[in-house]
Amino acid sequence: MSTTLSPEFTLGAAEQLTCAHCGLEAASGDTRVSAGAVYCCAGCETAASIIKQSGLGGFYALPERRPVRVSASGRSYVEFDHEAFAAAHVRYAADGLAEATFYLEGVHCASCVWLVERMPMIVPGAVRAELDVTRAVARLAWDPQQVALSALAQALDQLGYPPHPFRGLRADEVRKAEERKQLTRIGVAAAIAGNVMTIALALYSGVFSGMEREFERYFRWLSFVLVTPAIIWPGRVFFTSAWQALKNKRLHMDVPIALALAVGYVQGAVNTLRDNGPIYFDAVATLIFLLLVGRFLQHRAQRGAADSAALLGALAPVTARLVDGDTVKEVPTEAILPGMLLEVRPGDTLAADGVVERGHSSLDLALLTGESRPVSIREGEQVFAGTVNLSAPLRVRVEEAGITSRLGRLLRDVEEGARERPSVVLLADRIAGHFIAVILVLAVVTAGIWWKTDMYFAIDSAIALLVVTCPCALAIATPMAFTVAVGRAATRGILIKGAHSLETLTGRGIIFLDKTGTLTEGRMVLEAYDGPSELRPWVLALEKTSRHPVASAFAAAWPDVSAMEPELVEETLGGGLEGRVAGHSLVVGRPEWVLARTAAVSEEVQSLSVLEARLTPVLIALDGVVVARAGFGDPLRPSAKRLISQLGAAGWEVRLLSGDAPSVVQAVASTLGIPASQAEGGASPERKRAAVAAAREHGAVVMVGDGVNDAAAIAGATVGIAVRGGAEASMAAADVYLARGGVEALPELMAGAKRTTNVIHRNMVVALGYNAIGVTMAMMGIIDPLFAAVLMPLGSVTVILATWRARTFTAEAT
C-alpha cells in the first residue's frame, strides 16, 4: 500500500494546483501547504493527515473517488458522551460493546464506504463501522472502556462526515420489515410461477403431440398442488386489498385482479377434479408474480419521502448548556422549558427559540432561512433553534422549545406538507374503475346470450371473457414504463422517487423556483471593482484575517495577487474591517459604516454610477478617503435565462420564491424576464409553504429548491424538485432530485416525463385493444377458456417489449 500522496499532488495544464485530498482546484479557497502537498482548505488538510497517520493512504488509489471538499463542522460532540444521549441513542451489547446508529452528512460514493468502514484503524477502540451508502446511515460499534463516542464523532466529522443521531430508528425498522415481507412474497411467487409454467409447457405440447391420459392427469394435479400455496401466501395480498376496497364501496385495480385470480383458480380446481376442461394455474401463478414485482417497484420508489422529517430532526442539537445560578450544566434538549437561561458558545447550535439576554455575535441562519450570509445579533433580539452561533458566547432566555419552536413547527410542516399533498390519481387507476364495471356487465351479458343455447357453453364463454380481460397488461403498463424511465433518468443524473411526478410534469401549471442556489450559484462573488489595482494587495491584507464570505470572495477573485502583511486588524460584526497596512490606515466594509469613519470620498468614486440593485456594495477607504468601491453578488447560473424561456414555452407559469431580500429578488427577476408581480422576496419557510398551498388550488404546482427552508414547500407541492448542493432534508422531501447541479436538467426532466407518459398511454391503448378483441371474440363464443389463457399474456408481453424499446431519457433525446 502506498502511503505517499505524491500522485495526487499534480500541476494541471494551466499551472493550476489541485488539492491533494479532494482533487479540486486548490487556489480558489484558502490554500495550505504541508508535508509537500497542497490542500484547498483546512478541512482537507486535517482529513488527509488523519488518513495518512492511520496508514490508509490506499484511499487515494481508489478509482471511484469523487472530488468533494471536506466540510467539517469542527464541533466537539461532547454532548454525545452525556447520559441523556446514551439513554436515547446507545445500545449496550452483552460483550461490553456499545452500538449506535448515525445519519452521516456528505456520504456520496464507494470511497466513503471504504473510509467510514475503516474507523477501527482510525480511532483505536472503534470495533465496527457499517455504512448503508444509499441512505447515508452508519452503524457504529465501539468499546466504551477504550474510547468515548465524542472522539469517534470528531474523527468522522474531520473526515468530512458530520454525524447526527438517527432518530427514525423505530419507523425505519417497521419499513424494513415490510420490505422484507414483500421480497419474500415475490421470491415465493417467482419460484411457483416458474415451476407451474414448466409444467404448463409440457401440458400444452401434449395437446399437439399427444400425451398419455395418466401423465396429463398427473401434471394437472401437480400444478394444482403447486399453485395453491401461491394463492394463499403471496396472492393473499390481492384478496385482502380487494376486500378492503369493496367494504369501502370503491372499485380499484385489485378488485378485477382478485376476481380473475379467484375465477381462474376455482374453475381450474373444478376442472382438475372433474378431469376435463382447461386449468388456468400457469396464468394465475404468473399474474401473481408480475403484479407483486410491479407493486414492489412502486413501493421502493416512494419510501424516501418517509425519511424527510426524521432527517431534519437529526439536525437539531441533542443537548444544551443550562445556566443554573453560577454554574453551567449540560441538559438534554427535551428538558428545556420556556423561561430557562441557556449559554450558547461559538460553534453551538441553538436548541430552543428565545431572546438574547447578553452577548453580541453572528449567527448562521442557513438551516432556517437559506440565507448564506451570517447575521449579526445583539441583546434583545430574537434567535431560533437550529441556527448556529458563529463568533461569541450568548446568553439566551428560552421562549419556545421542542415541537413548539420554529424548527419544530417547520418539521411538522414538512410532515403535514407530505401528508396533505394532493394524491395524483394515476391514469391507470382512473380507468380501472370504469373498466371493471364494464367487464362485469359484459360477462353477465355474454352468459345471458348463450344461456338458452347451451348452459355449459355460456359459463365457459363468460369465464373466457374474464380471463382474457384480466387487467394484467393494464396493471403493469404504468409501473413498467415508470420503472424503465426512472432507471434511464438515473444514468442522466435525474433521480425520480414519486410515480406521480412524471405524469404531473407533462401538464401545465405553476412552477416556483427558489433563487439562491437554484437559479444562482449560491456563493458570493466579486462582480464589480472600481478602484486602483495597486490597492488590491492592501485589501487582501485585511481580508485574509477574516472568515466572512466577502473575504473569501476577494481572495477568489484575485488569486494571483499576493497579500501584504497587515498590522492591527479589527473586525466589526455587521460593519467591516479596519486596520493598518504598511503604516497607512485602511477601512473596508459596508458603505454607511465606512463613511462614518472617513472624512472624504475621492472624485473617481463620486463619479461612479449607482451599482446594480442585486449587488451588495462595499467601500474601501485609505487614510480617511474613500478610494474604491466593490460590488458582490450571487451570480446567476449561465443556463438560468434559457431555462425560464423554455419553461414558459412549455406552458408553465414561472414564479420566483426566495428568502433573500426583495430588492435582490426583483433585480434577478427583471434580468430573467419574470414579471415583478411573479417574484416574491423575503419569504420565510412558512410563507413558502403557504404560497405553494395557495397556488395548488389552481392546479399542479412544482417547487424547485435546494435548502432546508424550501423543504416544507417541496413536500407540499404536487411535485417537489431538489437540486444538487442543497440540504439533505430538502432532498429527502423531494420527488425528484437533480444530481447534475443547478437546474440545467429541468428541461430534460420535463421532456423525459412527456415521453414516458406517451409510452404509458400507448401501453394502455395496446392493453385495451387486446381486451377489446378478446371480449368481442368471447362474446361471439369464438374462443374457449384455454385459448383465452394463451391470449392473455400476449398483451403483457407486447407492453413489456414496447416499453423496453421506448427512448425516454437518453442523451440524444434532448
Binding site: 490506499g58 481508489l62 448503508d132 401437480l222
Partner: protein
C-alpha cells in the same frame, strides 16, 4: 416414462429447499441494502478488523 412419478416430486422437494433458503435469507435482512455490499466487495479487507456483520436476524 413412469420415472416422472419419482423425479418430479424430487424436483419439487429441491424447489422447496431453495425457496426455504431464500425466505430465510430475505427475512434475516440480507437483501436490505443491495448497493453497499457491492461497493465493499471491490475493496480489500485490509484495516477492517472485524468483518461487517449482517444485521441481526429477526
Amino acid at each position: 416414462m413412469s420415472v416422472l412419478f419419482v423425479l418430479v416430486p424430487l424436483a419439487i422437494l429441491l424447489v422447496a429447499i431453495f425457496v426455504g433458503a431464500y425466505v430465510w435469507s430475505s427475512r434475516s435482512g440480507q437483501f436490505d441494502d443491495l448497493t453497499t455490499p457491492a461497493m465493499r466487495a471491490v475493496h480489500d479487507d485490509e484495516g477492517v478488523s472485524v468483518p461487517p456483520q449482517p444485521p441481526e436476524a429477526r
